[in-house]
Symmetry: C2
Subunit: 340 residues, 2 copies
């Protein structure tokens, strides 16, 4: 571990590379500035945006992708990319758009009828060098893993939240299938024991996720904070879930459940490798001992029982101090659209 | 082709091995005598019975399996075996019964909740040398193929009736997965164009089945004739579907759509290999030119438009002429329970 002692406070400090969130959710295409500022302040300097917004699947062809990139370019305080959503019938459409997309996202609940044919046609046509990710679970997960294997494709599974699914992914990895996965930070800290919500893991499943973190390639923020906020009647604001993500993990480091290397691997190195994200000029300086005070995040109160320890002091990005103690100093929206 | 000319009638004749039906359905456990007599008269000398009857899944543990074998033994005019049904929770129960079972059958519609875990636990515990078959389709089919592959298991898919599923099986075979499949004879001759029933293939799918018969390992009779009879308000009687099966295929031979070797391969050699069925002392002598007259089968009227050509003259079984021109001559129920 690379950590130093702050001479004045005798607090331990460390520097991480700028974090990468591979499943960033924006409420609407108007929210790039607020979303990327929130993520920057939270230590995330790359946002790989999902193709959905609160209005549903928004990015699913060339025009909608280009419009999203356009909307983002004026207000992006982090680097970014967009994935494009594959549907039952748009394998040709997404193929046309592939050069501008970070990845192909296969949202399983959107695939109504002939999932096998739809997934197969995407696997057959989407370029080999561009990533594919999916939120498939249980039987659908098994199905998509078979199809990936039959088409010799790598596939990333996002938002794993059950022992059953993680077991399946582990078995597939053991069989040399090219599969990677991420777990939402929030699935690691909230379970049905805290809030009985269908999208949260059972406590048993959550413990299994912790016990098998070596099978988890990446952490993510994703859509879960929005689902939680909505279910608990909290405000839906851009950037939900970023602020608490790193402090939650750093508190787990303090508790000996995780190492700083785990955070670097799962929130930077592996995401960069899996999604082919170019090396960024970005670092995050962290004070590991400072207690995070309850801030004005709509969901921070959810964790009021936890004393979150570990605070972001400085985020450097594109050659400047972009954020200091939570305040954005970056003079302009210098984030770039970066795709493979 | 091994065919001779009948001197008296100048009809072509041929002799096939006794046919094996790998998915025999009995309306109830009282119907073994009637079912096996009907199948014997139709040229089938081995019945691998499904674990379901009209009352639903009937054979799913040691007791119900032994009771079925008991009921069958007194009245079986063919050799036979039973498969046992795997459920969400009976992996241990079916394992106890495995020595008396011909195969493990995984009925996908019965698996409600956690299909992946259920199938995985069956694959992990069911003995390597005993067959597993399933009626899984579409996404469930892809899922079960993955699990079979992860567990290094061979799996037989019964009742394939769509291009999509056959394509998936072909891709899996190309990738050296240990998968075999059968198509119901009735899916080859009835489509939604004739009767708009959910369990019949579309005409397009049916044409694809015909065009890709080289990917189909076996023919079967199965439960489809019962589903058709029920939907069309025909009488439900034991042995439904056997009588027409071979004449339908022989008519296709006449039409050049199939060879006698295909019938031997898919209704004897491959079923015997896939299900480990011991060599039987059984032959079927066929008159290829005799036109089959409309008989008293509740479903034969369905094929009234077809001139069924090819008729069974004699079935020899266990050293005697067991059936001559449709009349059972066997003096006793000499069928044996034969399992691997
Ligand atoms: Zn400090
Ligand atoms: Zn392919
Ligand atoms: Zn980096
Ligand atoms: Zn950059
Ligand atoms: Zn004749
Ligand atoms: Zn296994
Ligand atoms: Zn034989
Ligand atoms: Zn015998």
């Amino acid at each position: 571990e690379v950590s130093n002692i702050d001479a004045q406070t005798s607090h331990k400090t460390t520097t991480l590379p700028g974090l990468i969130n591979i499943t960033s959710f924006i409420p609407s295409l108007d929210d790039f500035e607020a979303s990327t500022k929130a993520s920057l302040a939270a230590g995330f300097t790359f946002n790989a945006f999902l193709p959905q917004t609160l209005s549903g699947t928004t990015i699913n062809d060339f025009d909608s992708l280009v419009q999203a990139i356009d909307s983002a370019s004026a207000g992006a305080y982090t680097d970014y990319s967009f994935s494009i959503a594959g549907s039952d019938s748009n394998a040709v459409g997404v193929l046309e758009a592939n050069e501008n997309a970070g990845a192909l996202f296969l949202p399983f609940n959107d695939l109504a009828n002939s999932k096998v044919s739809a997934i197969s046609s995407h696997f057959a046509s989407w370029p080999e060098n561009k990533p594919i990710l999916t939120d498939a679970k249980t039987t659908d997960l098994a199905s998509v893993l078979l199809l990936a294997s039959l088409h010799n494709r790598s596939i990333h599974i996002t938002g794993v939240s059950s022992k059953e699914d993680l077991d399946l992914i582990r078995m597939a990895k053991d069989k040399k299938l090219q599969v990677t996965c991420d777990v939402s930070v929030y699935s690691l800290f909230l379970s049905k024991d805290e809030f009985n919500l269908p999208f949260l893991p059972s406590k048993e499943d959550q413990l299994e996720l912790w016990a098998n973190l070596e099978d988890v390639d990446a952490f993510s923020v994703g859509v879960l904070p929005y689902l939680i906020a909505k279910a608990l009647n909290k405000n839906i604001v851009p950037g939900l879930g970023f602020m608490e993500a790193l402090p939650l993990l750093l508190t787990a480091v303090k508790d000996g459940k995780l190492t700083l290397e785990d955070i670097t691997a799962k929130f930077h190195d592996n995401p960069a490798k899996i999604f082919g994200i170019p090396k960024q000029d970005a670092t995050v300086e962290i004070d590991l001992d400072r207690v995070v005070r309850s801030k004005d995040s709509p969901i921070s109160s959810i964790f009021s029982a936890l004393k979150l320890q570990g605070s972001i002091e400085r985020v450097s990005f594109h050659g400047e101090t972009a954020c200091l103690d939570g305040s954005i100093l970056a003079k302009s929206a210098s984030g770039n659209n970066e795709v493979v």
